[in-house]
């Protein structure tokens, strides 16, 4: 018999909760969605005062498990025990009131409200007239921030905060519920190294207070740095739990993919051709300035730098999304003026943007409709009419070549995993036969298997003579893939490194110069 959440909350309030070894214990969970078995007989235990990482490729079932823990999904079978007591969580609020807080990948804060209002929403301190006592609320927030060592103004509006600071607000909010269990879904995906270090500090201090943290990540080095234990999932099944000190990186990858990946970053050495794109003194007012570089046929130019260094802005400006204020570009030696993405495409450029959901996918449309949209600018169209057969055949060939996992081309893109969505977007651009390919974080939030495939593909394109510009926050990716690396810091280019001389240390030095 499961205890109802309200009873549990009452028990918890009375302080009579048993001091169980495991904060959270999940037994034989099964969860099915229409057509998909998301979790099959999965068990998971979270020890008091530990950081427990969940690892697995996209679609392995980590997110589903986490959403069950946070009360968003109700499992079809199996039981959840909170501190040894069986419980059935019916909503996120249930979970929150029982001390389980989740920090989402997409942050759920209200942008036009202050930091303090966001943290204490639904629980605002009231004065004698029943109105919100803002003074008290700000003091409470300041105290909370002091405890967590967060330097933020409680009265600031959330829309003015950086992603990292918003994340801090989310964490403070979770802690303010006196939660015992904190679930974090890829919390570092948008943070700079310094911000990550701060986040880890906070996590360690929470851990020492006895809080258990479920930590979802794709980044291997984070696992070794912060996690005490980790559990691996594959295709909705539980593979195993180990202490993170017991294993090597390769062991984990093997567990995640069920096979060995010998080479993750296979950029082949190919003959480098003539300069295809040359950028001179490019500037976008108040964002970046003085950016000059050449990219040659067959070359991969990596752009490294911290988030906010202007890397993505340079890409957007070259592609005409935000036309340059000053500077010039030449393509194959001819000067070009690019004021819109349309013109960029006419000049043989392709741009895979950083944010798949915001600027990439047409989520509610199907695979075919997503793939065809760029190439229809100048091919497969006669007198305005689209050659349905021609484009469908071309998309089918492309989707097979890229090994997009989809039942058919009529599947909505929102039903695909992140890696397959990315492949659809790559397909969209490859159909245009680009001469210059710009990739912004091409493998963010993508599982290891799909990542390797995308790397192989980019390498293959370079071999065919495409000039590639690749922006990435992942150091191994930049170092492994690039022939040359351009490093940026605060809107300036701080240096170039050749493949042979580039090391993680050198890149970081330039990135913080």
């Amino acid at each position: 018999m499961a205890v109802s959440p309200t009873t549990m909350a009452a028990v918890r309030a009375s302080g009579a909760v048993p001091n169980a070894e495991y904060l959270l214990n999940v037994e034989n969970i099964r969860k099915e969605f229409p057509g998909v078995l998301a979790l099959d007989d999965v068990s998971f235990r979270l020890k008091r005062g530990t950081v427990h990482a969940l690892m697995g490729e996209n679609g392995a079932g980590k997110s589903t498990l986490m959403k069950i823990l946070a009360g968003i999904y109700v499992p079809d079978q199996g039981e959840v025990f909170l501190k040894g007591l069986p419980i059935r969580l019916k909503s996120p609020l249930d979970a929150l009131e029982n001390g389980i807080a989740m920090i989402h990948q997409e942050l759920n804060l209200m942008p036009f409200m202050t930091v303090a209002e966001n943290i204490w929403i639904r629980r605002e301190p009231k004065n004698m007239f029943g109105f919100v006592d803002h003074g008290k609320m700000f003091t409470m927030t300041a105290e909370l921030f002091k405890r967590l060592n967060i330097a933020l103004d409680p009265e600031a509006q959330v829309r003015d905060l950086s992603v990292a600071n918003r994340q801090m607000v989310e964490i403070a909010k979770a802690v303010s519920y006196e939660s015992d269990v904190l679930i974090m879904d890829e919390p570092t995906s948008a943070l700079t190294e310094r911000e990550v270090a701060h986040l880890f500090e906070i996590i360690r201090s929470l851990r020492s207070q006895g809080i258990g943290i479920v930590y979802i990540t794709h980044k291997m080095n984070e696992l070794f740095e912060i996690a005490d234990e980790f559990s691996v999932f594959r295709d909705g099944r539980y593979i195993g739990t180990h202490a993170s000190t017991d294993v090597t990186r390769d062991d984990i990858i093997k567990m995640m993919v069920g096979r060995e990946i010998t080479q993750m970053f296979p950029k082949e050495t190919v003959p480098i051709g003539d300069v295809v794109l040359s950028v001179k003194d490019l500037a976008l007012k108040n964002v970046f300035s003085g950016v000059s570089f050449d990219v040659r046929a067959g070359e991969i130019l990596g752009i490294a730098g911290l988030v906010g260094s202007g890397r993505s802005n340079v890409a957007e400006t070259i592609f005409g999304v935000t036309p340059a204020t000053t500077g010039s570009m030449t393509i194959n030696g001819k000067p070009v003026a690019i004021a819109s993405p349309n013109q960029a495409i006419q000049h043989g450029m392709a741009f895979i943007t950083e944010d798949r959901k915001e600027t990439g996918c047409l989520l509610i449309l199907d695979v075919l409709e997503n793939m065809q949209i760029a190439v229809l600018q100048d091919r497969f169209v006669k007198f305005g009419f689209v050659s349905e057969k021609g484009i469908a055949a071309a998309c089918k060939v492309m989707s097979d070549k890229l090994r997009v996992k989809t039942p058919n081309l009529q599947e909505r893109v929102e039903n695909l995993s992140g890696g397959n969505q990315q492949k659809v977007l790559i397909g969209r651009w490859l159909l245009t036969n680009p001469k210059i390919l710009i990739l912004d974080e091409p493998t963010r939030g993508i599982d290891v298997g799909a990542k390797a495939e995308i790397h192989r593909l980019v390498s293959e394109l370079a071999k065919q003579g495409v000039a590639v510009i690749m922006i990435s926050s992942e150091m191994p990716e930049v170092l492994g893939m690039s022939d040359r690396i351009m490093v940026m810091h605060e809107g300036r280019v701080t240096g170039f490194l050749d493949r042979e001389e580039a090391t993680q240390v050198k890149v970081m030095e330039l990135a913080s110069k």
Binding site: V36, P341, T359
Partner: protein
Amino acid sequence: MTSEQATAKAAAPAVSKQGRRLPPEVSILLVLIGIALIYEVLGWIFVGQSFLMNQQRLTIIILQVSVIGIIAVGVTQVIITGGIDLSSGSVVGMTAMIAASFAQASTWARPVYPSLTDLPFIVPLIVGLGIGLLAGIVNGALIAQTKIPPFIATLGMMVSARGVAKWYTKGSPVSGLTDQFNFIGTGIWPVVVFLVVAFIFHIALRYTRYGKFTYAIGANVQAARVSGINVERHLIKVYAIAGVLAGLAGIVTAARAQTAQSGMGVTYELDAIAAAVIGGTSLTGGVGRITGTVIGAIILGVMISGFTFLRVDAYYQEIIKGVIIVAAVVVDVYRQKKRKV
């Protein structure tokens, strides 16, 4: 916590194995048949006669649907881009007045332009379509260039176009129209115009680049722009088409009534939006088909006619109509949700 649930997609092995979906029109068509059958049964019980076995009634329904339907074909395309057009009813009034003033017979005592009477039908037709086009381009340009919400831009046009309609003759109707002009409003011709328009834009949305880009913009305007679509130019096109179709509806309305009045077309924009929405067009953009809108318009027409047939009080008719429009959207929201998980 609804926002969380909304973003909470099946984060799992992701690719669902479901086969090809039935076209959404099928369910809308079933609703139409259901409503008609309910009226049929109620008819035999309460009125003692058949609802469907009455050719005259069916003709009247389809005639009444035609004008709203012509407008709805344009409005559907606007809604697919994620926009809205509130101005079509007023544009109907404005074009009816102006087009009619170029279609007056010399036998009429007080024509608007005494020197321009007995003109061939092509003149008022071109004038009417031109006025509609102009209104649509203004709508589209405002929305595309100034980035103001379509709701506001077309609300402004709704008020101003109605103003033009009243100012044009200082409120007096434009009558004494030529037989040539009135012809388009006689017999089954409004229905023919409606079906031809619907067919053309059904083809345009499904098989042309114009259509593909319209859906892409509605699904994700940022992604559409990055994919090389000139979003501004395309939006102007879509609103211009909606304007032309409202103009055409204005001509048909005046021809049917054999006169033009400044109050023509009031609340037509709402009926047109309702037809699109009942037909499965999603107000969030990216989803919708002309076939659905045609059925949606017929559902509206059948509903109204059925009420009259059952001698339901006109006041109740409006109340129930509102409920049905909201219910259609609720059903659509649930359908979208189900598809997501």
